[in-house]
């Protein structure tokens, strides 16, 4: 082997590796959606001091804050089949590794979203909730129509930063055999002994994806601001 870095390989590699991009984007969307839902549930449970749930979610927050993502991923990868077999007697060893990745990352990022949502609800104050109840709404309606839209607006910057971190963190998923961008780059590089080129291409793709996400979140934030201003002016008139 004489050629250690071949620039002409970059374009064919790019065309191969970019095929993993839909997996990345799909995983990202599913994880963010599920993590937001779980984060909302755990944030509300901790806010309302629901007896058992509060302790469980508190434990999970300490666990995800204190341990590296690689280890969390592998604990789910090896632990979930044993747990499910012990509890329900179902063998899930043959399931797609995507499921383990989704579970691990949802648990990890839901704790961050949970804190973001909880603090934003606290920062709104009690007045909003009381005013909603006074108008004759039930407490569920108050949350859905009054509290949560405002809380989401406050929590949005934190959520978008965590989404960028998630895109970067998700490149660890290749370790459990997911063929996303990094996974394809690894297999391609190991087969052809040109790992450096493959990883450079994968890095470029992830950085571009991250920039696109950043731009998208900026635009969305602007729209949120516009809509909130409109809402406020309507309310005042």
């Amino acid at each position: 082997m004489t050629n250690f870095f071949d620039v002409s390989l970059l374009w064919p590699y790019f065309r191969q590796i970019v095929k993993g991009l839909p997996v990345n984007i799909g995983l990202f969307l599913i994880i963010t959606l599920l993590a937001l839902i779980l984060g909302l549930i755990s944030g509300m449970a901790r806010l309302k001091h629901v007896p058992v749930l509060k302790q469980i979610f508190g434990f999970f927050i300490h666990y995800t804050r204190g341990t590296p993502m690689v280890i969390q991923l592998f604990i789910i990868y090896y632990g979930l089949p044993i747990l499910v077999k012990g509890l329900f007697g179902i063998n899930i060893n043959t399931w797609n590794p995507l499921i383990y990745v989704v579970v691990a990352y949802v648990l990890n990022s839901s704790t961050f979203y949970s804190d973001a949502i909880r603090t934003s609800i606290v920062s709104l104050g009690k007045n909003q909730f009381e005013a909603g109840l006074m108008c004759g709404l039930t407490s569920l309606q108050t949350y859905r129509r009054i509290i949560l839209p405002q809380a989401f607006f406050i929590a949005y910057p934190t959520i978008s930063i965590n989404a960028c971190v998630l895109i970067c963190d998700m490149s660890l998923a290749y370790l459990v055999g997911v063929s996303d961008v990094v996974g394809i780059a690894t297999t391609l590089g190991k087969r052809t002994y040109h790992l450096l080129e493959a990883f450079i291409v994968a890095m470029i793709i992830i950085v571009l994806l991250n920039f696109a996400l950043h731009l998208g979140s900026r635009l969305f934030e602007k729209r949120l601001e516009i809509s909130s201003v409109r809402g406020k002016s309507n309310g005042n008139i």
């Binding site: 590296p68 592998f74 604990i75 895109i167 970067c168």
Partner: protein, 239 residues
């Protein structure tokens, strides 16, 4: 795999603890280096230096958008791509086998930490008043003295809570060094799993170790914060 034996967890914790020094080095050296560089960048920004400011934003962008694991791979294989042709031409001077993964891991972790630490330090300097610097210079201090006696204590006090986050993040980040075959706590324990294939127990044991480490770092920083608050109270009393 199949059955879960809790007694292996302790075995793996003991196996991992043999390599505690590697994990300590990977966790704390990059972040401390990043603090030193980030501090100089932040002070340069405070003095209004354009080039330093651009460098700082470049580091922030790199840390945020480049996955740390890919950066590590590119640096690792990049060093090989540079050294291998050299080794072919000068076989006596240098050989590809002499490359160690550990310094490369240190370097790449430093770059990843640098952006976040720079942001911490910059936000700490933003809380400072520019009048502080002018007053120090007016009273006859040199630039260095003003930084050393007036700016630095205030910056560090402001930055402490965020630095705690940076250090815990650095501890957690250091775990990915096992992907380029650095033998740290995780890899040291994983090597021993071939005996009984107890992967889950191994990862659980190492998770407990990291958890303890992060907890200790947090306690340490709370203690520092407590100390600085105490000092401040004393100063106020003397006034």
């Amino acid at each position: 795999m199949g059955t879960f034996k809790p007694e292996y967890i302790i075995v793996h914790i003991l196996n991992g603890l043999k390599y505690w020094h590697v994990t300590f080095a990977l966790a704390f050296i990059p972040c401390t280096l990043a603090v030193l560089i980030g501090l100089s960048i932040a002070i340069g920004r405070f003095f209004g230096h354009k080039g330093v400011s651009m460098l700082g934003s470049f580091f922030m962008m790199t840390s945020k958008s480049v996955p740390s694991i890919l950066l590590m791979f590119v640096l690792y294989y990049g060093v090989f791509a540079i050294v291998r042709p050299l080794a072919q031409h000068f076989p006596d001077v240098i050989s590809a086998k002499s490359i160690k993964a550990f310094p490369i891991a240190l370097f790449s972790l430093t770059i990843t930490n640098l952006g976040f630490v720079t942001e911490t330090m910059t936000s700490a300097t933003r809380s400072l008043n520019k009048g502080q610097l002018e007053a120090a210079l007016m009273s006859g201090m040199t630039n260095f003295q003003a930084i050393h006696r007036i700016l630095l204590p205030q910056i560090m006090k402001e930055a402490l809570p965020n630095l705690c986050n940076n250090y815990t993040a650095s501890v957690k980040l250091s775990a990915i060094a096992f992907t380029i075959s650095v033998v740290d706590m995780l890899n040291g324990a994983l090597i021993e799993t071939y005996k009984n294939l107890s992967y889950l127990e191994c990862y659980l044991g190492i998770a407990i170790l990291y958890w303890c480490l992060v907890f200790c770092v947090e306690r340490l920083f709370h203690f520092f914060e407590h100390l600085t608050n105490k000092q401040e109270r004393k100063v106020i009393l003397y006034d």
